[in-house]
Amino acid sequence: MNQTNTAAIRFDKVCYEVDQMSILYNISGSIYEEKITTLIGPSGAGKSTLLKMCNGLISPTSGEILVDEESIDLIEPTKLRKDIGIVLQNAPIIRGTVFENIALPFTLQQKKLTEKEAILFLEAAGLDHTFLYRRAEDLSGGQKQKVSIARSIVNKPKILLLDEITSALDPTSSHEIEQLISKINRESKVTIIWITHNIEQAKRVGDYTWIMMDGQLIESGESGLLDTTRNEQVKQFANRVYKK
C-alpha cells in the first residue's frame, strides 16, 4: 500500500458487542483520503456496523476511530455527520417531493436550499430538473437511490459512506451509479467507503479494498488483491460470489 497516502479515517483496535455477542473484533487500519475503498464480505460480516460507526450512528464498545487524527468521540455529532455523509441501504426517503428530500440536510440546519441549488445537486446525481417536484415515494428504486445520493452531497461531506447502494438495482442503473460516484470522488475529492457484494464492482470502482468476515478484517490492500490473494478464506468467498 502506498505509504504517502494520508489517513482520512483510522481504526485502532475497534470492537463492537451487542448483548455480549461480538459484532466487530479488533479492526485496525486506515481509509485513505480522496480514495475509494470498498468493503466486501458476506452478510453479517459487520460491514454496515463499521460504516455506521464512521457516521457516529453507533460507537465502538472498545478501541478508537480517528477522523483526520482526531478522536471521533471528541467531534460534535451533528458536525461529524455533516462532514461524513452516509447513503443508507434501501435509500430511505421522507414523505414529500424530491425537492423536500434533497433540501432535508439544509432544513435540519434551518437553512434554505434554493431551487437552483437543488437542481444542481439533482443533476450531479444524474436526474434532471423535471424530477424536482415529483413525489419521492413514486420513484423507481434507482431514482430513489440517486435522490439519496444527491441528498447526501448537499452537506458537501469530506467523506461519503455508501451501504450497498446498487444491490437492489438493475445493471444499467447500477452502472450509472458507479459512474456517478467515481465522478464525485474525482471532481470533489471526496473520500469514499463503499460496501458492495459485487467483487467485479469492487475491482472496477475501488482503489483499495477491505475484506471482512465474521466481524474481522481478514485482508486489506489495493483492489488487485482480490485476484492475487493467497488467503484461503478470501479465495473461497470470491469463488462463492463468482459462482452465484
Binding site: N55, P77, K82, P92, L108, R151
Partner: protein, 253 residues
C-alpha cells in the same frame, strides 16, 4: 334503590355467563371475577368516599388523589416499560394534569373546594389522563419501531434527536388526542355521558347536569393535550444517548 333490587341486576351478569358457556367462549371465569371485583371495589370506594366527605379534611382529599395517581401510574407504565424512568414521567404528568385542571376549577371558584367535587372530578380527569397516556405510549412505541430507518436517516444527515423523532412524536400525540375530540363531536347525540346520566337519574335538574358535564368535557380537552404532550416530551430524550444515537434496545419489540 335497595340492596335487594340491586341484587336483581345480577341477571345482567348471568346472561353473558350463560351465553359464554353455551357458545364455549370461555369467558365465564373472567366475567365472574370482573363482577366480584367491581362489587368489592365500588362498595369499598363508596364507604371510603362517605368517610372522606363526612370528615371534610384536606389531608384525606390529598390522600385519595395520591392513591388515584399511584394506581393510574402503575397501570399506564406497563405500556412504556421499555422507556427509561417511565414511572416517574407518567406520575409527574398526572400530577401536572391534576394541578393545572383543579387549579383552574378551584382558582376561579368554578366548583366549590369540597371533597364532594374535587374527588369525583379528579377521578375522571386522572382516569382520562391514564387512558391517553396508554394510547400515546402504544402509538409512540409502534411508530418508532416502524420508522427506525427514517429516524436514523435524519440523525445521519446531522439532525438532532428532537428533529429525528419529531414526526413520530407529533403523529402519536395527534392519534392519542383524536378519540377525545371525536367523542365530543357526537356527545349527547349518540349517548348521554355517564356522569350526566347519573345526575339525572339521581334527580338533578338536567340543565345543571349538562353544565357539569360541559365542565368535564372542556377539562378533558386540556387533560388530553397535556397528558400526551408531557409524556411525549419527557420520554423521547431517553431513547437517545449523549452521542445522539438511537439506542438499540430503547424499546421492546
Amino acid at each position: 334503590m335497595t340492596f335487594i333490587t340491586l341484587s336483581l341486576t345480577l341477571i345482567f351478569v348471568l346472561i353473558p355467563i350463560v351465553l359464554s358457556k353455551t357458545l364455549k367462549l370461555g369467558l365465564e371465569k373472567d366475567t365472574t371475577i370482573a363482577t366480584l371485583r367491581s362489587i368489592i371495589q365500588l362498595l369499598a370506594v363508596g364507604y371510603v368516599l362517605k368517610f372522606v366527605f363526612d370528615a371534610e379534611s384536606f389531608i384525606y382529599i390529598l390522600l385519595m388523589i395520591s392513591l388515584m395517581i399511584l394506581t393510574a401510574t402503575l397501570n399506564a407504565r406497563k405500556k412504556g416499560k421499555a422507556i427509561k424512568g417511565i414511572t416517574w414521567k407518567i406520575a409527574v404528568t398526572f400530577m401536572i394534569v391534576e394541578a393545572v385542571t383543579e387549579g383552574i376549577l378551584l382558582g376561579f371558584e368554578i366548583v366549590p373546594a369540597t371533597a364532594q367535587f374535587i374527588i369525583p372530578i379528579s377521578g375522571m380527569l386522572i382516569g382520562n389522563s391514564m387512558v391517553l397516556s396508554i394510547l400515546f405510549l402504544n402509538r409512540f412505541t409502534a411508530e418508532i419501531e416502524a420508522s427506525r430507518d427514517q429516524i436514523e436517516l435524519i440523525l445521519s444527515l446531522g439532525g438532532t434527536p428532537k428533529q429525528a423523532i419529531h414526526r413520530q412524536l407529533k403523529s402519536a400525540i395527534r392519534a392519542s388526542m383524536i378519540p377525545t375530540i371525536e367523542s365530543q363531536k357526537t356527545i349527547g347525540l349518540v349517548q348521554l355521558p355517564g356522569m350526566m346520566s347519573g345526575q339525572i337519574i339521581g334527580g338533578a335538574d338536567p340543565v345543571q347536569a349538562v353544565q357539569f358535564q360541559l365542565l368535564i368535557v372542556f377539562a378533558l380537552l386540556t387533560t388530553a393535550a397535556l397528558s400526551s404532550i408531557l409524556v411525549g416530551f419527557l420520554s423521547y430524550p431517553t431513547l437517545f444517548n449523549e452521542r445522539m444515537q438511537l439506542l438499540k434496545n430503547s424499546l421492546l419489540k
